[in-house]
């Protein structure tokens, strides 16, 4: 407690209420505004307009009202895709973030060869979406994979984890957790952003390591945790390539790994229903936006900014 109090007093008084700085802001935002107007908004509006059409890419789109949206209500594969995606997001995002945070704390400082460890832990994330990932994953979780060999040592008979509808999604969650390198790097950077003097002051007050973590590291890191949460949330909802390469593009077995964007892709490009795919994209946008908004609202209660009033 005292450490946090100290922290607040170190920050000094709240920043004075500022007048608008529209001109400066406009100049700083100029590249972004140009990009927004020329590159971002056009395709966004176009995809919104296309969501009210039948569009097969090969011929001009034809207006069909809200038909695509009505169809989404009845589309059982779409509902399945939503369930799969929500399960995936709810399980893999917290797991991945937790692991990333723990390892960032371990790898922050105080040990020889940290650069190598960090790189080693980050390496899996570098593999990206290459076809190698899919093959490697079958080598691990396949019928004759490493996991089953290891289970065999203990006399347990394994199964085809990757192609059993009960476990396939689980292996993709593990795949996502396995690539925790990205949030870990961001946590590492965030940890280094915390001024050392806060710790010094807390130490002088006799705070132990656990207290320091709870009262300094954690609150100071909340903006970064929050950022990672939003980043991983949006990323997980849009997650595509891993399911695509591992299932060979089908979302199988039995649609158990049919991620929302994978189904969207199948509709848009394999079935040439770009109108429907666009409608699906906007539903996804609404879902992600709503969850992000909730998170921003909730962040008032747990995210601590150094520049707050």
């Amino acid at each position: 407690m005292s450490a946090l109090g100290e922290l607040r007093s170190l920050k000094g008084a709240a920043a004075p209420k500022q007048r608008k700085q529209n001109k400066a802001a406009f100049l700083f935002l100029l590249p972004w505004f140009v990009g927004l107007a020329l590159i971002t908004v056009g395709p966004m509006v176009a995809s919104f307009a296309l969501s009210f059409t039948r569009y097969n890419l090969l011929s001009p789109p034809r207006f069909n009202g809200v038909e695509n949206y009505i169809r989404m209500l009845e589309d059982e594969r779409l509902h399945k895709a939503l369930v799969v995606t929500f399960q995936y997001v709810l399980v893999s995002v917290p797991l991945q973030l937790g692991l990333a945070l723990v390892l960032a704390l371990v790898l922050d400082r105080g040990l020889r060869g940290l650069a190598l460890y960090r790189s080693a832990f980050y390496l899996p994330s570098l593999l990206g979406a290459s076809v190698a990932i899919a093959i490697l994953w079958r080598q691990l979780f396949g019928v004759d994979g490493l996991i089953n060999i290891a289970l065999g040592w203990f006399g347990i008979e394994g199964q085809g984890w990757i192609s059993n509808p009960e476990t396939a999604l689980g292996t993709l969650m593990i795949l996502n957790v396995w690539t925790f390198g990205a949030p870990m790097v961001i946590f590492l950077a965030g940890l280094r952003q915390i001024p050392v003097m806060y710790y010094e002051a807390a130490s002088v007050d006799g705070a132990n390591r656990m207290q320091q973590f709870r009262h300094i590291t954690l609150p100071m890191l909340t903006p970064i945790i929050f950022f990672n949460l939003i980043l991983q949330l949006i990323g997980a909802f849009q997650s595509f390539t891993q399911a695509f390469v591992v299932s060979g593009g089908t979302g199988g077995p039995v649609d158990s790994t049919l991620f929302y964007t994978l189904y969207l892709y199948q509709q848009g490009f394999a079935n040439l229903n770009m109108g429907y795919a666009s409608a699906m994209a906007w539903l996804l946008l609404v879902i992600i936006a709503a969850l992000t908004a909730i998170n921003f609202w909730a962040s008032k209660y747990w995210v601590f900014y150094d520049d707050q009033d």
């Binding site: 011929s59 019928v143 990757i162 040439l272």
Partner: protein, 441 residues
């Protein structure tokens, strides 16, 4: 906003192109087919054509050599290659068509041909007939590239569905190679089960089927049906259900592997398949995959006829087509290059059987002695099949490309017991018909 207006401009252009094609076709019909084909003349100016295909590095290298040979012969024409793998190919092609950037020469697949043709993307090759000759192609094979009498694609290679048997494994477990002239589906499953049992579970009897339409087409034809009739799904629920029922029985009998293993191998493609890794005695494949499978397995693989093959139930499927853009500004040059690809011995020398056994009969005769042993057996197999070969199945209607996901998904549901074969048949027809209706113009 800007994106939208630009798009609209693109669409207007696309409509224009489509109208042009329609009028061109109409003119052709009125004039009585090929006789009305205009005389094409090569330009005196240098011309650049774009040429797109899918494949692997071997095909890319062979095709680039063909391009070089062509450019040496026609110094005025430059061919710009564009290549990708199968999945990326269609994403890229449809996107570029949306913007009106259609490659001049396009490698086409049977399942996509009608979709692209119906949307006015592909040229009527009859228009190019003053340069592009198709006289060395058998009528029936050439017909697979035509829709309602208009030729949209020149067949490149021919293929047939086959059961590949691993002779080394059969020998090892003391099972005789079955006689494929007489064997029935029950014989097939019984033999597969025999091998699996003899191996004590070391290998599986046969790979499962049901992951693409080749096997289904054969089954339907043996039952006197076809998958499509025009833009309608024509397969009956009984026959479809029977097909999946039979797969289930084979799985229960131990002739095919358990579902999880099947799906796992299936998502790994050819390289990780049971056949390629010598883990099964039999497997259903296309004849043009024999070479790749032999290379991967290193054992003696032979192509057998599909069980119960009877008069007219077998068919030759074109491995792919050469098509041209309806919007090309250089018809004469496109025709010249297509003619080089389809009819020249030079191109054949470089390509050999990389795109399948040539559909062009003259070229096939010319090239056969030059093929390696494996491909010669494939040619023999295809020739030997000739008496049983009937007309090609009705062309895949627009939107039929969706069958790839639909068939795969339903077979998985049957294997994992989520749907009974009967339910799967009903749902399959419903979903496929929906895809066709979506694509209807």
């Amino acid at each position: 906003m800007r994106g939208i207006t630009r798009r609209r401009a693109g669409f207007v252009a696309a409509i224009g192109a489509a109208t042009l094609v329609l009028t061109a076709c109409a003119g052709n019909d009125a004039g009585g087919g090929e006789a009305a084909a205009p005389e094409l003349k090569l330009s005196d100016e240098p011309v650049t054509l774009s040429f797109t295909w899918w494949g692997n590095d071997t095909r890319h290298a062979a095709t680039e050599e063909i391009i070089a040979a062509f450019e040496a012969e026609y110094p005025n024409i430059t061919i710009e290659p564009q290549y990708t793998d199968w999945a990326g190919y269609w994403d890229k092609l449809s996107t570029s068509v949306a913007a009106g950037d259609i490659p001049d020469i396009i490698q086409m697949d049977e399942k996509q041909l009608s979709t692209y043709a119906a949307n006015g993307v592909l040229a009527d090759l009859g228009e190019l007939s003053s340069i592009l000759s198709t006289e060395d192609f058998p009528e029936a094979v050439l017909g697979t590239g035509a829709l309602d009498g208009t030729q949209y694609g020149v067949p490149v290679g021919i293929n047939s569905y086959t059961i590949i048997a691993n002779k080394d494994l059969l020998d090892q477990y003391g099972v005789d190679l079955p006689d494929d002239e007489t064997w029935t589906w029950d014989d097939f499953v019984a033999t597969a089960e025999e091998v699996a049992t003899a191996s004590g579970g070391a290998i599986v009897g046969t790979q499962s089927w049901g992951f693409e339409d080749g096997g289904l087409n054969n089954w339907l034809r043996q039952h006197g049906e076809s998958l499509y009739d025009g833009a309608e799904v024509a397969a009956s629920e009984e026959t479809l259900a029977g097909w999946w029922e039979f797969l289930l029985e084979a799985t229960e009998a131990g002739a095919t592997p358990d579902p999880a293993a099947t799906i796992e191998r299936e998502s790994g493609g050819l390289a990780e398949s049971f056949t390629a890794t010598n883990a099964s005695a039999f497997g259903p494949w296309w004849s043009n995959q024999v070479q790749a499978l032999r290379d991967a397995s290193g054992q003696d693989l032979v192509a057998l006829r599909v069980p119960s093959t009877a008069d007219g139930s077998a068919y030759y499927k074109p491995s792919m087509f050469w098509s041209a853009s309806a919007k090309t500004e250089h018809q004469a040059e496109v025709a010249t290059f297509l003619d080089f690809l389809a009819n020249s011995e030079e191109a054949a020398d470089l390509l050999l059987a990389e795109r399948g056994v040539p559909a062009n009969e003259k070229i096939r005769e010319y090239i056969t002695p030059k093929l390696d042993e494996v491909n010669q057996t494939v040619v023999e197999f295809l020739d030997g099949l000739a008496p049983e070969v009937g007309d090609a199945p009705p062309a895949t209607p627009p939107g039929g490309g969706a069958i790839e996901t639909i068939i795969d998904q339903h077979t998985q549901k049957v294997l994992f017991g989520e749907l009974t074969p009967e339910q799967a048949a009903t749902s399959f027809i419903e979903e496929l018909q929906r895809a066709l209706d979506d694509a209807a113009i």
